[in-house]
Symmetry: D2
Subunit: 338 residues, 4 copies
């Protein structure tokens, strides 16, 4: 059994790790921390976990967590993960960081997140960007930087066009629509029901930080505009892709996607328009595209569950790969429909 | 033109007063207060009011408000209204208090709200309970205690049975379902979208304070259990009414309702089951009932918009009556369907 | 491996059976029927099941289904199940019928459902009412009549009071709130988004057919009023219970519940008010109660997922018991929160 | 008083015309037709209109409608309006057609809507495209082709850039998000609550017919991808605008918008991101933009109520202009917030 620790187990990401790991046949949760709830039984704070977990929330003691865990999931806000990661690794734990702290190069990070990166050995750690389908080198990583929710849906949507196409993609506009759970467990103006219901809320329409990950992975000109929709889970990404050299045939593009995602179990290339329902609660990324007639635009739609493939599920998928398990272990079930 | 002041104009009740008074042909809003937003333009804080109101929020200066207003709507939390009402009245303003402070007798208030009533002349003021259809004496009142949202829907639903029936009602259980706007403008655990969407939240299931108003007005044995539903507006009240002496005929009950509400424009006796949609944004209370076969139970359903008939609309209806206007002035429009 | 057939696999009940059985370690789905979709691949019609099931929908051939299955789940509309059940049993399959056809005594059925019961041997079959917690005799049954969704939530909520209390319960009013998935997969006026969103829809407020099951199981005076809420899944039942002989202590009632549900894994007696979220996608029934001060009313709240504990999950729980498996096999996972 | 007839008064567009015209001080509804409900009282079919309208639905008798009306709103499906319009005009009524039948040139119409245009004099009628802010010639029109809901939000969002900018706009991608009421009053797979709730549904992602109106009015390269969100009303349009010649300053663009919409009462240029709530139930179009740093992309966001500014409200605005009334007559009220 893999012993898994979770730092930050009271937010949505942490709770989703718990929910999924409880169903994982090869994992035992060894420790879960929460500063706010330390000493309280996890299932008292989160009644849906009753009676699946007996543990109490603990305070963060990096040393002890490393000692008690084979893998540690770090599910704390951006800027805090770097406080824990160095010591966790120093003490021999393999780490999957769900924050943004190790996704970008140091200078890019500092520019985008407008703060100094406190980990002096940041660059040497060679964190692997954990978009599992694109980075098989996750298998050997000691530190995986789990992708952001938006980048996961966006990058997977167009990677085959960019990577296979040989420079054919000129520009991509990602217009993304996310459920509100992406904004976290704390009540806010945006998550206030009367503000969000019967509404859709665009935000950071030209300047969301996740765009840096998209650019890093795709290497093409990317624009990104996110919106919050009145739903709990899910990200639907509408990718408006402009090709450099005229329209390709539907058949050619389909083949590119099929080849690129050959053997990738969690990518489902769809015959019809994807739906958030079909991925609800799952680690799947559903993808579909349509070519605009007499134009060089392709519209690619991807659908993920932001908390699973866009977060905790992908983290576990990475863990599976890191520990030589079947990639789908503990994650292989259909979505909650309806 | 009636000059109307609003104390507490940044909460949902205050904003709804503004929205409705702006459409009222006989009213001019003279002053609106907000401690939080004083000095800010009302339509900057609330863009939906642009360009309908030029005023800024002011700090509360009771004296000045009274001087500048014929009527003052007090839309502050329970326990605060009594700080303003005495001076407003002393300076000659007529007052419509939307809080609970003047609805109950002093001792009942202190018992239920677990605080001392600071207004020394509370009982002498003879505040009229502003359920307009039941209290025509509103016309002569200087102080109207506007009813709670739940009591409005509940009392109107069964008053004809209780009042006309001659003691025939033995017991009533009000099982009420409210939109979340009743909980106010501040984000909270309950109003957090991921908590409320795809859910329904019962609360204070045996001990909600509004039951005191229902008992006061109806004079029969009343139980009350409220729930919050994943909707913004509206209260649907399911009244389970038990008659003392066997079933009455549908016809007799229908006649009782018709007689009781004769000439009451905002009560719509329905042929089919009421819906929150049909009252959305309006001052109507829709009512319908069904007799349970071979039983002494009658189910009465009422639907109101909690912020209009259950709050600010009824306050304006009371103002209309107090100032000798047509009861429906400024409130006579159909609901927002769909 | 248990070979399980499903008659009626394109409705929500059938699809939920498929979703859950696919995760069941001891079951293999042998055949799934749908008149409408026969010949089509199940995962083409329902993309969320891709790539979990390779089968196509078949036409209904009772003989063949019985031959290929150890257990057959009948998930067709009321009135149709009785067309299939006799032959299935005659050919040796054990049957779990999710319709109402075998829940009530023949004459009661005919009175309530206003149709003749076509199975001539209906009464001899001794169908067991499959409320698993109350009917351990499910273990030996050849025919289980799986309870209705509303009765499941209602009966479980108050059974300890009725059964343990020794006649102490005088009357119960069940005011139930259901997600719209209970109304099925076909679009209708009620399920039309603009009609249901921002609304709550009471229906059959004194005359819903499910009340017959409640009366049969509880043996006390029962009233039942259902409502549809703007949610997909879940039934929250507010039981207003009137005791015959004054108030019992909280402690005594709690003890009654604990004793009654001792060892029943899917019943969670809660410390706080239940929520639909905590049972979303699961087979749990969460229960909580509060005593009304100075009254003989107890409010009991139960929460279930209407498609799982209120339908397909309970059917599988029954299957587990029938086949000597652990009751929770394939059903033992936490809810989808948030 | 203007006598207004409505052909097609049982769909959402027709009902919204009724709701708004009932509040219009200069209009009297003279006749409302519905083939389905002819002979039924309008307020029986639509209880929210009780007691505001005494009329019954009538069958369509073009001649009689023209005789009884100064203006006729045609709110029937595309392809049917052309059956009525010629005779209405021939008999002297002024016509506002809310269908697509008179928006495009004949050949364009036939190509896009894949049907023959049956009105032999289509082109001679010189229907004015009723985007009121852009077409003051509405004032003299006998036939106004009221714009589609999507084109209204899209064109208003970028018209100042296109028209004032002198050819500076290279390309626009409209990514639009609409409430489901745009799909009409009939239940469908898309409007089925379990399909739409917790979801967002893209459709016709490269080939929606409304794009033709956008191209006609804007004269630049336009792509359009619509989505349905789980809301009743509203269209939020995210316009990704690419400028030909580098970035303009925020100030310059702001000035262009202000000049272009000078005196246009229903256009609100916003300081913050628009919200569907603020336009709910109103005829406003709220607009806001942000320039992407180091790019030639501008993101413009517009918000309208699809049934009001995107349909019936704009139709009435056009009527006001046609009859020499104040443009805002009957439409000048704030949105339903919350």
């Amino acid at each position: 059994m893999i012993k898994a620790g979770i730092i930050g187990g009271a937010g949505y990401t942490g709770l989703e790790l718990i929910r999924l790991l409880l169903m994982h046949p090869e994992v035992e949760i060894s420790v879960v921390t929460s500063r706010r709830y330390k000493g309280e039984k996890i299932s008292d704070v989160n009644p849906h976990l009753e009676p699946f977990i007996e543990l109490e929330y603990e305070d963060v003691d990096t040393k002890e967590i490393a000692d008690r865990s084979d893998v540690v999931f770090v599910a704390v806000p951006h800027g805090s993960a770097m406080d824990y990661v160095p010591e966790l690794i120093a003490r021999g734990a393999r780490v999957i960081d769900l924050s943004a702290d190790y996704r970008l190069k140091k200078d890019e990070y500092e520019r985008i997140y407008k703060r100094e990166h406190k980990d002096k050995h940041k660059e040497e750690r060679r964190a692997v960007y954990g978009l599992t389908e694109l980075h098989p080198e996750v298998a050997d990583a000691d530190l995986v930087a789990n992708p952001g929710c938006y980048p996961t849906g966006a990058i997977l949507a167009v990677a085959p066009l960019v990577k296979e196409g040989g420079g054919g993609v000129k520009q991509v506009i990602f217009d993304a629509k996310s459920g509100i759970s992406g904004a976290g467990v704390e009540p806010s103006e945006t998550s206030h029901f009367p503000n969000l219901a019967e509404n859709i809320i665009p935000y950071q329409v030209t300047a969301h930080r996740h765009v840096a990950e998209m650019r890093m992975e795709l290497g093409v000109k990317v624009s990104f505009t996110p919106h919050v929709i009145p739903s709990i889970r899910g990200i639907l990404t509408t990718a408006h892709v402009f090709l450099a050299e005229g329209t390709k045939t539907h058949h050619a593009i389909e083949r590119a996607y099929k080849q690129f995602y050959e053997g990738k179990r969690f990518i489902r290339l769809r015959k019809g328009i994807p739906s958030l329902s079909a991925v609800r609660g799952t680690n799947f990324c559903d993808i579909w595209f349509e070519i605009e007639e007499k134009s060089n635009r392709i519209v690619v739609i991807s659908a993920i569950d932001n908390l699973v493939k866009g977060g905790s599920g992908q983290a576990i998928q990475n863990m599976n790969v890191m520990f030589g398990l079947n990639e789908g272990e503990g994650l292989w079930f259909p979505g909650l429909v309806p």
